[in-house]
């Protein structure tokens, strides 16, 4: 047996297999947020169907806030919507729920919400996508949990897992 060739082969193959194997358990589309533990970007955004009224994100401090970035063109948002409606009703008095519509239009948002049982919490319009950029939003849906002081504590990528959200929210209440 040629030990030199075997050694050289193992030196190349073992690290390669290790790198590939360590990546198999991860979602390649997940972007870890550097904002966890930092104050959430502050915004004043117009609210859907509020006749020009705006919502200042910092005004929600005092209770935990659940921020959900979504859009009508996002297929998985359709799956997530009833879960968020249910969660928002469960935590109606204890947690603020806010939707932020990303790259979307008001008529489409109105139509979508009407077709999906209506809005259970306010939807803000992300004009110019500045909120999405500041939160580091990549693919939708993405959600963030802010504590009572407005610090980002959790990021959820894709459709939320209600059990995980409940655990995280309960820890903040």
């Amino acid at each position: 047996m040629n030990w030199k060739v075997l050694g050289a082969g193992l030196a190349v193959v073992v690290p390669l297999v290790w790198v590939l194997a360590s990546g198999f358990g991860k979602d390649p589309q997940y972007i870890p947020s550097p904002l966890i533990g930092k104050p959430a970007p502050d915004f004043t955004l117009p609210m859907l169907d509020a006749e020009g009224a705006t919502l200042h994100l910092a005004s929600l401090q005092g209770k935990p806030t659940f921020v959900n970035f979504w859009a009508t063109w996002c297929d998985t948002c359709r799956v997530e919507h009833p879960l968020l409606v249910s969660l928002s009703r469960t935590y109606a008095d204890r947690v603020h729920f806010v939707g932020i519509a990303y790259l979307d239009t008001e008529p489409k948002l109105r139509g979508w919400l009407a077709a999906h049982g209506g809005a259970a919490f306010p939807t803000l319009i992300d004009v110019g996508s500045t909120a999405a950029v500041a939160f580091g939003v990549g693919r939708l849906p993405e959600s963030y949990v802010l504590d009572s002081a407005g610090v980002i504590r959790h990021k959820y990528f894709g459709v939320v897992q209600p059990r995980q959200v409940i655990v995280d929210l309960e820890a903040l209440l």
């Binding site: 972007i31 550097p34 955004l45 979307d104 239009t105 939160f135 580091g136």
Partner: protein, 180 residues
């Protein structure tokens, strides 16, 4: 909240974006818009001169080429046609128009998205391996290939002298018995 003065076409396109309108024609008057987030709170005061016109366009493209489109596969923000990348490009343009340097723009995006957003990882820490290992492996491979080529050019190696055949006691015995 900070106020930025922007080039009219880019700004009106930004304002019209949520309504799905087409970009406005050139020559519209410059207007001001209030942004929701002040980049200076993240990357400090603008450290460069505010840009406009062709210089702004070139700087936006150059910086956009260094930012990854988060919804694409290995494409830069400058090259991607995705809506999300377009929104990021607009943010880059706004920052350059307000006098933020390229490094400040990159820092701003890195603060939100993490180092993932930079197409070229920073040359520090574990990232150094990404810059050092490939050239080292390339050099090692080149040296190996050169060594092989030199050996081949030197001609085929002389065949080793064949050692004398070892005596086989069984064969010797058979031979002796036949001869007898």
């Amino acid at each position: 909240m900070r106020t930025f003065a922007l080039g009219a076409p880019a700004l009106l396109w930004l304002l019209a974006g949520s309504a799905g309108a087409a970009p406005p024609a050139e020559g519209a008057p410059a207007v001001e818009v209030q942004l929701g987030l002040d980049p200076a709170t993240i990357v400090g005061a603008a450290a460069a001169d505010p840009l406009a016109g062709e210089a702004l366009e070139a700087a936006t493209r150059a910086t956009g080429l260094k930012l990854r489109c988060p919804t694409c596969q290995g494409m830069s923000v400058a090259e991607s046609p995705a809506e999300g990348a377009r929104a990021m490009k607009t943010e880059v343009e706004k920052m350059h128009a307000a006098g933020f340097s390229e490094q400040q723009v990159l820092d701003f995006f890195e603060a939100s998205y993490g180092p993932f957003i930079l197409l070229a990882p920073r040359r520090e820490g574990a990232n150094l391996a990404l810059w050092i290992v490939p050239p080292v492996l390339l050099a090692a491979g080149g040296l190996l290939a050169m060594g092989q080529l030199r050996r081949r050019r030197a001609g085929p190696a002389a065949p080793p002298e064949s050692p004398p055949a070892p005596s086989d006691p069984w064969r010797d015995r058979v031979r002796r018995e036949i001869e007898e």
